[in-house]
Symmetry: C2
Amino acid sequence: MKIGILGTGMVGKAHATKLIELGHEVKMGSRTANNEKASEWVKANGEKASHGTFTDAAKFGEILFNCTKGEFSIDALKMAGAENLKGKVLIEIGNALDFSKGMPPTLVPSYCNTTSLGEEIQKAFPDVKVVKTCNTTNALIQVNPGLLKGDHDIFLSGDDNDAKAKVKEILNSYGWKSPIDLGGIVTSRGVEMMMPVWLQLWGVYKNANFNYKIVTQ
Amino acid sequence: MKIGILGTGMVGKAHATKLIELGHEVKMGSRTANNEKASEWVKANGEKASHGTFTDAAKFGEILFNCTKGEFSIDALKMAGAENLKGKVLIEIGNALDFSKGMPPTLVPSYCNTTSLGEEIQKAFPDVKVVKTCNTTNALIQVNPGLLKGDHDIFLSGDDNDAKAKVKEILNSYGWKSPIDLGGIVTSRGVEMMMPVWLQLWGVYKNANFNYKIVTQ
C-alpha cells in the first residue's frame, strides 16, 4: 500500500520504518522538501522510501499518518491541503502538549477534557476519516508491542467503522492482536488525557518502555 | 485504628466495610447525623461501626478518607472543619465530574489539566496530609484487588512521605502488593485524568470490573 507519513520525528520515523519492513511504499512529509532527517531516512530504507513536503506525502498516500506534534497538527494538515486528505483514512497519533508553564507539560487546554485533538482535527477536516490510536505508548512500542513482557493494550477511536477496520489491520500487522475499539472520535478525549500519567510513570521508571494493560475479571 | 470516612456512597461504604473486617473502628460521616444509609450500615457492621456528621467523623478518625463526590469535596471538608482535619492523613479518592453537558460527564474544568482535585484540597487545607489514591478503579476493586485476574496496579500521590507510607500499609492490608508512588500531590492530575477513558472502557466492557496494569520490559 502507498502510505504518507506527516512528521519526521521519532513517531513518524518509527512508523515509516516499520511500514517499509512490512513491504509498503512510504513517503515522509515535512514542512520543507529538503528535510535532512527525512533524506537520511530515505537513504537508509531503500527504493520504497521517499520524502517530500506535507502536500507531497498527503497526495502520495492512500492512507495517511499524522505524526506531527499535536500542538501544531492542524496547521500541518492545512499545509498538506484538505483536498489531498479528502476521503482518506488519517491515523492520528498526536498528543498536544503545552510546555509554556515548564516541565512536566500540561495538555493544551483548548484540546482537553471538553474536546480533544482528535475531535478538533475531525471537525477541521470533515471529509477525512480520522482514527485516533497509538498515542498512549512510546513510538518503539507502537510499532513493536513485543518489546514488552506479556500482553498489553492499544486503543482505537473514530467515527468510521470501515476506517477503523483498516487501521486495525495495520495494527495487527505490527503485532497488536486485539486493539480496543473505544467508540467514536469523541473518545479521543480519554486516550489523550492518559498522557499526564504517562509522563509521571516515565518519571517513576526512568524510561519510556511501558504500556497499559486493561485487566478484567 | 480509629478511622473516619467522609461520604456514605458506594466508595465510602466499600472502604468502611473492609476496614471493619480488618479490625478497625470506623465512623462514617455525612451532611446529617441521621443519614439512613449510614445508619443501616452501622446496624450491619457491629459495635466497631458508628456514624455521625462530617464533623463527628473527622474528629473521630486518626486517619480520614474523603469518599464524597469530587465536585462537592471541598465543601464537605469545610463542613468537617479544618481544625478537625489538622495534622491528619486524608486519603483522597474523589473524581470531580461535570454532568452539566450530559453523558458521559467531563471532569470539572476547574479541577483539570493545570490543576486537580487532589491539589486543590491540599491548597485549601494546607495542614492536612493529602494522599490521592484508589480513584482509578471501582470501589469493590479498590478494597479487594483479588476480584480481578492476575496483577494490576493502584497509584499514590502526595507531598508527605510518612503519610504515603501509612496509606501504603492500608493498601497492603487490602491486598495491593506494590502501589505505584507517582510523586507529589501534583501527580493527582494524571490519575484524575484517567477517569474519562475509564468511563469509555466501562462502555466497552458493559461492567466496571476492570483496572489498569502497567506493563514494563
